[in-house]
């Protein structure tokens, strides 16, 4: 259970990136966030709750998100997370970083295959 926090994901920052991107679509609460990522990735990506909540707190602390009281789809009290301005800027920067990285990896893999 107690994983080294630095080796939480395959790509450091991937979870944050997905959370940020999902919340940009619309503000959500925790459960909805997991469902959303699972749905849009066609079940390819499964977010672990064990990582989700620490990540959310980290981003709240960094000022990328803000949370406020809300009601879930089932009518229960919960907290809705939304992106701040800093969060949007952070997302843009990270996204271009990831795109460059993926492009690079794809090219390296292509050479290896040939």
């Amino acid at each position: 259970m107690a994983k080294n926090p630095k080796h939480r994901d395959l790509f450091a920052g991937a979870l944050e990136l997905m959370i940020l991107h999902s919340l940009r679509v619309k503000p959500m609460h925790g459960y909805a966030l997991v469902k959303h990522i699972k749905l849009v990735s066609d079940d390819l990506l499964q977010v672990e709750e064990g990582s989700l909540y620490p990540a959310l707190q980290r981003m709240l602390r960094a000022g990328l998100l803000e949370s406020k009281e809300g009601i879930s789809a089932k009518g229960r009290p919960t907290r809705i997370y939304r992106l701040t301005k800093a969060g949007i800027e952070h997302l843009e920067r990270e996204k271009s970083g990831f795109e460059t990285m993926f492009a690079g990896i794809t090219r390296v893999l292509a050479v290896a295959k040939a």
């Binding site: 259970m1 107690a2 080294n4 926090p5 630095k6 609460h29 925790g30 459960y31 997991v34 672990e48 709750e49 064990g50 909540y53 620490p54 959310l56 707190q57 980290r58 709240l60 602390r61 949370s67 879930s72 089932k74 229960r76 009290p77 919960t78 907290r79």
Partner: protein, 878 residues
């Protein structure tokens, strides 16, 4: 302020988190139930899928906490466990540091009390003693004081005082007490408020004897009057003169001299009333007063000094004889100007430097043991680096351990020091003299202790840092504690150790020099023979005699004391040589001088009775002794010492020659020459001195009866007491042997010897542990090599040479360097210790022997260890 806000909102954040997670679980349960599970099954499945709720919540919360703080806590916990697991290092370190820090705190405590804020007064930094530019000359005349006080533009106030002893009687009790004669504005200028009643003020003074008041010190009020509040308005007698008690000083005010605590204060204008000559207040060339001034707020000491020197130049012009060459200089108050200030400052600064060096050596020592231990933990540290721990985190752990140990050591040392300082404050070395040292640890002292502890922790904790940087994880894991990297580490450790040994040798040399000086000073040629002499000091003025009545009483004292059985010689002198307040001096001029502005030199002056030379054991080298026929009606005669004769008359025989004193132009005829002696201090250079007959010169009110006898001192003291009380029951008497009276003269040397011996002992202990550490380490690291050597047939001597050669070489080179330093440092010591020289064969031999013993002690166990090598077992183990 961010952290404060965060702390405040943290509780809310935690609550938000719980709500979020709770809702998440509920939805998950709903989801599973929708898939057809029962509520119970769904609950279990959701929990399984979600994971450990508590742990997740905890990890989420951690995002809001301070990782550094938590980390430091963990480091400290780990450090504590390490120390408990291996108590040897912790105990050694704590004890070493406790001694090192304790020594520093004691020295700083004394420094703080005596030099940094000696007088507990408002705005002490603006108070200055006005001294002459010539060092050691602090006293001013009353008329000069009045001119300084009234003409300056830079002081907001200026007061004068003098320290006196006087007979204080209440009812039938007469005691000798110490007090200040102080100018009327004294208390107001200092800004002190009375505990009881009132102080005297400037407007109480209207000329001579106009303010018959006395103020008591708090301690004296408690001791003598039992804190009786009705004492105000009562009359006490000072040298038989009635004075009214008007007030009691506050408890913490002990006058304006650190080492002279008064029992009372009385206005300066009473000086004549209590028996001082009228010259005391009228004569410009009679210098008796200490002058203390308070600078105006916007004035610098330099401006004030310029101002005063302007006044003194004007006075020198106006009174060319009395104020010839008058000048002024400002010094810190409290230590008789710089007369005590200079040597005390020098001595304490020296001891402080030594104490710091000892602490530095302790740190070096611990640093090297710590580094050795870190090397032993090399594999553990390498594993930690390999699994991703940052070097910074490991270093933080090491520093935490060092700091923990040094803080505990610091606390222990401070407790030790506080106890010592408290003992020192209660200590009153001289019964005859109001000498107190009150050194209580205050906030500043504790702060210094804390800083020293933290500093030493960091210092020796950081030492292994370099070594850590060099650690290559893969290498260290393969070979354990590698021999490859140890070479460079050794170089650093070697340097530390040899510095330490050099320091230890220096301190051992210094303390041996001091001890030897002490021992020699007891056998030094003093110019008199104090053994077997009892001194009875009395003050005829205190007993109410006038000057013309002195001689008959003194003659009677001599005659009756001579009749005591067992007494072989008696004489009178007006000062105790090498005793308290010895001695005055006077300018002398060659015969025929007309212009008295520039004297030939100043000579110590004494008045003696005919039997004095025999009683004191002073040898007469030429000419004749005084007789009772040398009296007021016969030509003025004088005995001089060898130095005087040489300085005044050169190589021509002194007997029969004449010279002049300023007062009274009748030339003095030298009738005899006596041997040189020590007068004010044991370490002084030969001083010119002259002895006048009591019948012709009365220098001082004091009378010391010098009684030589082979009988036990206690018997003679009792008989003397009976005899003198029989002559006049009102005589204030102090009876002690001359050797006891020398205590004051020996005090600086004793203090220096004690301080040096303690520091030397500390340094020796440190050098032993240091050498022991390095030797042990060097042997244990080379066990395998030694085993192979034994297997190949090496002899025991060769084994020891290879195992301990290095520490022994360090010991020899360090000792040599230390001895060299000791020889260089001897000039410092020569000021306090009689004939201090490290070239003394006994000192040299003692130092070499001490260092050899020390080396033997430190390497004995490692040497035995190296000889007990069992090659078979060792090679098997590897």
């Amino acid at each position: 302020m961010e952290w404060l806000r965060r702390l405040f909102f943290r509780r809310r954040r935690y609550h938000d988190l719980s709500v979020s997670i709770q809702e998440h679980l509920e939805e998950k349960i709903d989801e599973f139930m929708e898939e057809g599970m029962s509520h119970k099954e769904a609950l279990q499945a959701a929990r399984r899928a979600f994971g450990n709720v508590t742990l997740i919540e905890e990890r989420s919360r951690e995002e809001w906490q301070w990782p550094k703080l938590e980390g430091i806590r963990a480091d400290l916990k780990f450090a504590l466990r390490q120390s408990v697991k291996r108590p040897g290092f912790a105990i050694t370190a704590i004890m070493t540091l406790a001694l090192g820090i304790g020594a520093n705190v004691v020295v700083f405590g004394i420094l703080n009390a005596i030099l940094l804020h000696p007088l507990h007064l408002p705005a002490p930094q603006r108070l200055y003693t006005i001294e002459h530019q010539q060092h050691d000359w602090y006293s001013q005349s009353y008329p000069d004081y009045l001119d300084y006080r009234d003409s300056n533009h830079t002081f907001s106030g200026m007061a004068a005082y003098d320290m006196v002893s006087a007979a204080l009687s209440t009812g039938k009790t007469v005691t000798k007490n110490f007090g200040y004669l102080a100018s009327g504005n004294y208390f107001d200028m200092l800004g002190v408020r009375p505990e009881l009643g009132r102080f005297f003020h400037a407007n109480d003074e209207h000329g001579l004897n106009s303010a018959p008041y006395i103020v008591l010190s708090y301690d004296f009020w408690c001791a003598r009057f039992n804190r009786n509040r009705h004492i105000l308005g009562a009359t006490v007698h000072l040298n038989k003169q009635p004075l009214t008690v008007i007030g009691v000083a506050p408890k913490e005010f002990h006058g304006t001299e650190v080492f002279f605590w008064p029992d009372f204060w009385t206005p300066l204008t009473n000086a004549v009333l209590i028996g001082y000559s009228h010259h005391y207040l009228e004569n410009r060339s009679t210098h008796n007063l200490l002058v203390l001034g308070r600078l105006k707020d916007d004035v610098t000491p330099q401006q004030a000094s310029d101002d005063l020197n302007g006044i003194s130049r004007r006075l020198a012009d106006e009174y060319p004889t009395e104020d010839y060459g008058l000048d002024a200089r400002l010094v810190k108050p409290g230590l008789l100007g710089d007369t005590l200030g200079d040597p005390v400052r020098g001595f304490l600064a020296g001891v402080m430097a030594l104490a710091l060096l000892v602490l530095l050596a302790a740190c070096a020592n611990l640093g090297s043991i710590f580094a050795a231990r870190t090397a032993d933990r090399g594999r553990e540290l390498a594993i930690r680096v390999a699994i991703g721990s940052s070097r910074w985190a490991i270093l933080r752990g090491l520093v935490a351990e060092a700091t923990l140990v040094s803080l505990v050591g610091g606390v222990a040392g401070t407790l030790l020091a506080a106890t010592l300082l408290e003992g020192l404050s209660r200590w009153q070395p001289f019964v005859e003299f109001p000498f107190h040292v009150v050194v209580l640890a205050d906030r500043k002292v504790y702060l210094v202790a804390l800083l020293l502890s933290l500093g030493s922790g960091l210092l020796f904790g950081m030492l292994p840092a370099r070594q850590l940087r060099l650690t290559d994880a893969a290498q260290a894991m393969k070979s354990g504690v590698g021999a490859e990297i140890s070479l460079r580490r050794f170089a650093l450790r070697d340097l530390l150790l040899s510095i330490q040994i050099a320091l230890c040798t220096l301190l051992v040399t210094a303390s041996l020099v001091a001890l030897r000086g002490m021992q020699r000073s007891l056998h030094a040629p003093l110019g008199f023979e104090p053994r077997g002499v009892m001194l009875a000091g009395t003050d005829l003025t205190m007993a109410g005699y006038r000057e013309e009545q002195f001689l008959p009483v003194e003659k009677r004292m001599l005659a009756e004391a001579a009749r005591i059985p067992g007494v072989s010689a008696v004489g009178i002198i007006d000062r105790t040589l090498l005793g308290e307040g010895c001695c005055g001096s006077e300018a002398v001029f060659p015969a025929g001088t007309v212009d008295f502005r520039k004297e030939e030199f100043e000579a110590r002056n004494f008045s003696i009775s005919p039997g004095y030379l025999e009683a004191s054991g002073t040898r007469l080298l030429a000419g004749r002794n005084f007789t009772w026929h040398d009296d007021a009606d016969s030509p003025p005669v004088v005995l001089v010492n060898v130095t005087f004769a040489r300085m005044m008359f050169g190589n021509t025989a002194a007997v029969g020659q004449h010279f002049l004193l300023y007062r009274g132009a009748r030339p003095k005829e030298v009738v005899g020459v006596v041997e040189d002696g020590k007068y004010a201090s044991l370490t002084e250079d030969p001083q010119p001195a002259m002895f006048f007959p009591l019948t012709q010169e009365i220098n001082d009110n004091y009378t010391v009866l010098v009684v030589r006898s082979a009988f036990p001192p206690s018997e003679i003291a009792a008989a003397l007491d009976r005899t003198l009380t029989g002559i006049d029951p009102n005589l204030p008497l102090t009876l002690h042997s001359w050797l006891d009276a020398l205590d004051l003269a020996l005090f600086p040397a004793r203090a220096a010897t004690a301080a040096l011996s303690i520091l030397g002992l500390l340094a020796a202990m440190l050098a032993i542990t240091g050498t022991f550490g390095v030797a042990t380490y060097s042997v244990s690291k080379r066990m395998r090599e030694l085993g192979i050597r034994v297997a190949l047939g090496a002899a025991r001597v060769e084994l020891i040479r290879s195992a301990l050669g290095r520490p022994l070489m360090l010991l020899v080179s360090g000792s040599t360097a230390g001895l060299g330093l000791g020889i260089l440092a001897n000039r410092l010591l020569a000021q306090i210790v009689y004939e201090a020289t490290p070239r003394d064969p006994l000192v040299l031999g003692g130092t070499v022997l001490t260092m050899a013993l020390l080396g033997l002690l430190a390497t004995w166990i490692p040497a035995r260890h190296s000889l007990s090598v069992d090659p078979a077992r060792l090679l098997r183990e590897e």
